[in-house]
Symmetry: C2
Subunit: 409 residues, 2 copies
Amino acid sequence: MTPQRRAGLGTNQEAVRRHNLGTLLRHVHGAGQISRAELTSLMGLNRSTIAGLVGELESLGISEHATPMGGARQGAGRPSAGVRIAAGGPYVIAVDLGVDRAVVARVGLGGRVLARAQAPVHSHGEAWQVGASVAALIRQVVEDAPPAAALVGIGISVPGLVRRRDGLVRLAPNLEWHDVSFGGIVLAALGLDVPVSLANDADLGALAEHVRGAGVGVDDLIYVSGNVGVGAGVIAGGVRLEGAGGYAGEVGHLRFNPQGRPCHCGNLGCWETEVGAHAIAEAIDCPPDKVAQLDEVLEGFTEPPRELRATGTALGHGLASIVNTFNPRLIVLGGYFRSLYPLVGAEVDSGLADRALPAPLESVTLVLPALGSDSALLGAAEIALEPLFVDPVAALGAALVDVRSRLAG
Amino acid sequence: MTPQRRAGLGTNQEAVRRHNLGTLLRHVHGAGQISRAELTSLMGLNRSTIAGLVGELESLGISEHATPMGGARQGAGRPSAGVRIAAGGPYVIAVDLGVDRAVVARVGLGGRVLARAQAPVHSHGEAWQVGASVAALIRQVVEDAPPAAALVGIGISVPGLVRRRDGLVRLAPNLEWHDVSFGGIVLAALGLDVPVSLANDADLGALAEHVRGAGVGVDDLIYVSGNVGVGAGVIAGGVRLEGAGGYAGEVGHLRFNPQGRPCHCGNLGCWETEVGAHAIAEAIDCPPDKVAQLDEVLEGFTEPPRELRATGTALGHGLASIVNTFNPRLIVLGGYFRSLYPLVGAEVDSGLADRALPAPLESVTLVLPALGSDSALLGAAEIALEPLFVDPVAALGAALVDVRSRLAG
């Protein structure tokens, strides 16, 4: 073997080791705390390799030793030592950009929200104004971050179509944005250069519910989000369905009632015109300036209003098209559908049962998000954390420390 | 290291070698003929490992040495020796069960159709009668198979919903089948015990067009098939979208016109009621007994009949829902849509452009299948060949030789 070959082999071994390190971190991140025995079994590596990887994560300040979690899952032997996410370790900034407000959080591994801030957003505000508001919120949430903790990146959830290749917001109808480079705007407002990732809110809701919400362990799920407009995020075979450009899941623009109302997309009777926030607001006489807070308005009802029954049925009929198309195991109803479903669940269920094909219907379940209204926010954290699971060493190398003083400068 | 450990390591190395052997075979199968230099580059293995694997495939009778294909793709050096599928190697039986006829082929690696037979099927025939017809066709196509060639398995394309777990035909509406174990029926009629795989016709059309048709190298494609009913097969991110049970892609039952015609599924105005064969036949006054041969009827038109224009528009409008939902790069129009599109392409295109969102619209292309009417048939061959790409040694070990005399006995 020539020296050149050996060098190549060494580089390959290093790549494998970093890959294993990232995969181990993904397991710790998903579980919050996990025993070495479980890691050994999950990763198919021997105990000494696991011990070496765990030691490296500890020396990077990412994880720490945890007292054993009891012997129940470890069989008769001594409980295995545990690994958990260290306090003061790397973090990301997650941004959930809504139609009327932005929520920003500092989020650590394990999906821990370490700080949170929010502010109203003017729905007709220019992108640079919204970017300045988001930057101000980011300054707030990093205020108390330990100076040594590393900022890995920023993840932003957008209520619109986001091009996967470069994060360009192609269309955010309720913000009236076309082709806005919102990631660049936020970075410019901050004066920082860190990795920034953007994606559609429903796609991120699906991701977060799959990683740590209602869909843990479910490989085929759809997160259907009512957020003024209606969209879906799809996990198929355990993987995010993105489509060629990143635009998959625009189920709000499924044809629903061709004799129906005009949709902002230019068509008549898209599903969104029947179950979108404007249609619901009209049905219950909610004033237009409250449409963006429809979830709160719906939560105010103690009795289901009769006027919402048709909306429930229309929601069920549209979900039937989704069930026939995707054959999901789970549908998670996010956004204001979280508040609508408890009011008209019977109508939704019977609308779905009446219209879906029996074979895919029999295995599907409707649920509410386990992460409440934070699904998209935590999904934004997930995409920003992702580089840590690919190569923690490289991701930390590219991360920023002492962020607060950099922002001040 | 204990002897036990070493044995474990040996087993693992053997598993890796067989995996590599299967992957190499998948490349040869996909390309038909491929140079060793390309295999080295595609698989990231060194030349001597590739040479060893190629030698093993040759000794198994699967591949053979091919003369170099010229130096164009090899740079300035000597053209690399090639590998191609050997004649007389393993084969599968592919069955395309249509509503009015069954096509059966003996198919070798590389997707070579070695023999083919077909016969009418009575659309109201009992499953055992259809099974007997298919078995007779299988006997025909193995008639001339070399006695030493191994039958790896049978793949069957079904116009209906097929449960992935066990291949049960849950519903084949135009055959009037519910919960039919058609694979078992065919094996019983043959008196053979070989692996049999069943899947939906549109799913198999998508697979075949992806492996060796219009969608080679395209990771996000949808094959939309008009085959009395309407269905789709979806490749997303390079992988078949199956859904929780295997039923994904039933786009014929997307809600389309709620004031429309009754659909066999019990709903009103599914997309299938506007662009399915019965609707088209009615529009052009085609007699009901010709509906299953709609492709031939449509091919008989030299001028596009005015009555089909609305169908073209409806096809475009439904495709827009598919584009909004899946954001595919490519839509392959199979079944009788192959014959319809050349007549009303302008209406289909403008219907799609009018209704799809601009972002996913700009990257999608409509094409006809490169495999003509054989997409589903060749897809059935692909699923039957699959065990060879997982572990060629095990698949050949489980395969049957001298099939003709076994069938005679």
